[in-house]
């Protein structure tokens, strides 16, 4: 280690930088010190220094209140230092011992005066349910059941009471089960035992929390068992200082809280960019070849498969995966596509940069390709030189420090709080495959001589449907967020869409598209209304994922056909230019419309329906469900 980077010198340098007002470099050095040696001593150093200049930094400010039944004060500096390393300026209020019930019901309590953004309710079984925890052997079965119901009710009252006074997020510790149940092995033979009743309280808590907005359960038992109950607990510190958690595990408690605080502050990553050699497999593909690299179900390849599984789990959470590797493309693709030990395949990755360009440049390009900002990237690479370079050139990227031992890689990824989500939507869970399908389409397109051959190969299917209660929210969302292929850029709420759809002379269509690579979902909207013999297109838009594949022609042809069937003679529509909708500028002209007029805000186009060549392309299989109106 170079002398200027020894811990003592690093501390001196930090103090010098702060004194000079060089706050950004000081912050970077503090984060480096914390990464290198996270623990109670460094946490004290980091938080006292950060407090000297945190207002000079671009940090996300966040106020956290901790309501508790045990000593948490020594955890607070660890939590604040870790939050700082993720760009969060965390202010913490700690409630008095076991006064949380009063704090919550009293609208004027110090809790609400603090105006927290989030509140943690950290209560142990011993204090929340003393009779269940300590005197279980004295309780008759029905008394035990009543005791457990009482605890459940008290949780529910606390949560509802809290919601009456605060909109802050609430994170509730579930109750820990006894390591040594009072009835020994008999306890686990029924659900009415000590463990069973605690489990029931936790199940009820989960159900109740799920029905409330912004209330989350922290699985305390799962946390303790990850590290081992005997090691986690420290009876001496409990008796001396009401601190039940051993010194070694205070950081783990803080980091479990971080899993909630990072998504609450929006400091999450949307994509994880991974290296290949010695990261996704053991060895170097360019040197060791397909038979030499280590990846498979046995040691040592199993370590890499465990990492693959962690990556696949992220992908199911909606986190995009990408590859950035210095390699020959053909070597790397052969391993990715054909190596029998690989659990991740090219289809799992939304972007690939396999070349000899420097990684910072590749990361910038990946962010652009995925249409996310660079600060939404996380980076996983076994090479400490690459990590250091990315850190210095792109400090906004979350760089994950891989441990030396590949067997610990998967846990390093699973422990990283930037991948936590507090809720998952259906679209989140399909996001990676949608990006990968898009890349396969682009790749396939290059293999065809003519566009028409490519369109036939795609085997597109479009479902046209009059808007329904089920699609209304998505239709409104598309009118609100589609900017590029949008002819009039008129924004509508769900309520307005419902009103239009209810009128006899208005027609609101949606279009779903799928093809041989996958399902795009509901990606287009058209709204038309009849006025005598004329039908006017109010809104016509498509998500940019599907434009240029002739789906737009199919949608327009359907509007024209249904208008003609209703007796209309003319189809008209405005193109209203904006800064972003140039891709739609020539749409009417390309489909045989004649320009009628130009005013200051746009151009009006018309098509004679008696005499129109407009047809849906025969390579798109069209299904129409018009709800009987059109």
């Amino acid at each position: 280690m170079p002398a200027e980077h020894s811990p003592a010198n690093l501390r001196a340098e930090i103090d010098r930088l702060i004194a000079e007002g060089a706050y950004d470099p000081a912050a970077r050095r503090l984060a480096e010190l914390w990464r290198r040696d996270p623990g109670s001593a460094v946490a004290s150093f980091v938080t006292t220094r950060v407090d000297q200049f945190r207002h000079q930094l671009q940090l996300a400010k966040f106020k956290l209140a901790i309501l508790r039944s045990f000593t948490v004060e020594p955890i607070v500096p660890l939590l604040r230092a870790d939050a700082f390393a993720y760009g969060i300026d965390l202010e913490v209020h700690v409630g008095d011992f076991s006064t949380y019930v009063q704090d919550i019901v009293d609208a004027n309590s110090s809790l609400y005066r603090f105006a927290p953004d989030a509140v943690i309710l950290a209560v142990r079984t011993e204090e929340a349910a003393p009779d269940l925890a300590r005197d279980f052997a004295d309780l008759a079965p029905d008394a035990a059941q009543q005791a457990s119901d009482r605890v459940t009710r008290s949780f529910e009252q606390s949560i509802s009471g809290f919601r009456q006074h605060s909109q802050a997020a609430l994170i509730v510790h579930s109750l820990g089960r006894p390591g040594h149940p009072s009835l020994g092995v008999v306890d686990s033979q029924s659900e009415g035992g000590q463990s069973g009743l605690v489990r029931k309280i936790n199940a009820d808590l989960r159900r109740f929390a799920a029905g409330e907005r912004g209330v989350y359960v922290l699985d305390y038992d799962a946390l303790v068992s990850r590290y081992g109950s005997q090691r986690w607990h420290d009876e001496r510190k409990w008796l001396m200082a009401r601190l039940p958690i051993a010194a070694d595990h205070l950081l783990h408690m803080a980091r479990e809280w971080m899993r909630f605080l990072v998504p609450l502050t929006g400091r999450t990553a949307k994509a994880l960019v991974v290296d290949l050699d010695n990261t996704l497999w053991g060895g170097v593909i360019g040197e060791d070849g397909m038979t030499g690299i280590k990846v498979g179900p046995e040691y040592p390849g199993a370590a890499y498969q465990a990492l693959h599984r962690a990556l696949l789990d992220l992908s199911r959470r909606g986190i995009l995966l990408a590859i950035c590797s210095k390699n020959n493309l053909d070597d790397a693709m052969e391993a990715l596509e054909k190596h029998p030990g690989m659990l991740v395949r090219p289809r799992h990755f939304a972007a690939l940069r396999i070349n000899w360009t420097d990684k910072a440049q590749n990361l910038r390009e990946i962010a652009r390709e995925l249409n996310i900002s660079v600060d939404a990237l996380a980076f996983l690479d076994d090479n400490s030189f690459e990590r250091a370079q990315v850190r210095s050139i792109l400090p906004e990227v979350t760089v994950i420090d891989l441990p030396q031992n590949p067997l610990e890689y998967a846990v390093a990824v699973r422990d990283c709080p930037v991948f936590e989500r507090l809720a998952l939507s259906a679209e989140d869970q399909r996001r990676t495959s949608m990006y990968a399908e898009q890349r396969q389409r682009a790749g396939a397109e290059q293999n065809f001589q003519s566009k028409e051959d490519f369109f036939r190969y795609l085997e597109q299917e479009a479902e046209l449907e009059a808007v329904t209660e089920l699609t209304r929210a998505r239709v409104a969302q598309l009118t609100q967020k589609t900017n590029q292929f949008n002819l009039t850029t008129r924004r509508y709420t769900e309520q307005q869409i419902a009103e239009m759809a209810a009128r006899r002379d208005w027609h609101v269509f949606s279009i779903r598209v799928k093809d041989r690579f996958g399902d795009h979902g509901l990606v287009g909207v058209a709204i038309a209304h009849d006025e005598g013999e004329q039908c006017e297109v109010e809104t016509f838009l498509l998500s940019c994922r599907v434009i240029g594949r002739t789906v737009e022609t199919a949608l327009l042809a359907h509007i024209a056909k249904s208008a003609a069937e209703r007796g209309c003679k003319r189809l008209v529509g405005w193109f209203l230019p904006t800064k972003k909708n140039a891709p739609a500028r020539d749409f009417y002209e390309q489909h045989g419309f004649q320009r009628q007029e130009n005013n200051g805000s746009g151009s009006l186009w018309a098509l004679d329906l008696n005499n129109s060549p407009l047809r849906s392309p025969d390579w798109i299989k069209l299904g129409v469900h018009d709800g009987g109106k059109n």
Partner: protein
């Protein structure tokens, strides 16, 4: 190799916010401004975590100076508290 005393000194410097050079074997709650009962607990926790030892309640009471803390750490590295 840094001595146990120097390591304890470095920990105390972080915890109490005092330069390591100003912390001696005789430094105690009387001479170090921030050394209150909460910081005493923080010092104990940081020592336990850094050295991988557990200090007995008696150790924690006897830890009245930085020198005493270093001696107790060496003792517990030899014979763990029961």
């Amino acid at each position: 190799m840094t001595s146990t005393f120097e390591q304890v000194q470095a920990i105390a410097s972080d915890i109490f916010g005092v330069p390591a050079g100003k912390i001696s074997a005789d430094s105690s709650p009387e001479t170090v401004e921030n050394w209150d009962s909460m910081q005493h607990l923080n010092l104990v926790l940081a020592i336990e975590e850094k050295f991988g030892v557990q200090l007995a309640p008696e150790d924690i009471e006897q830890m009245k100076t930085i020198g005493a803390a270093a001696t107790l750490v060496e003792k517990r590295l030899q014979s763990p508290a029961r």
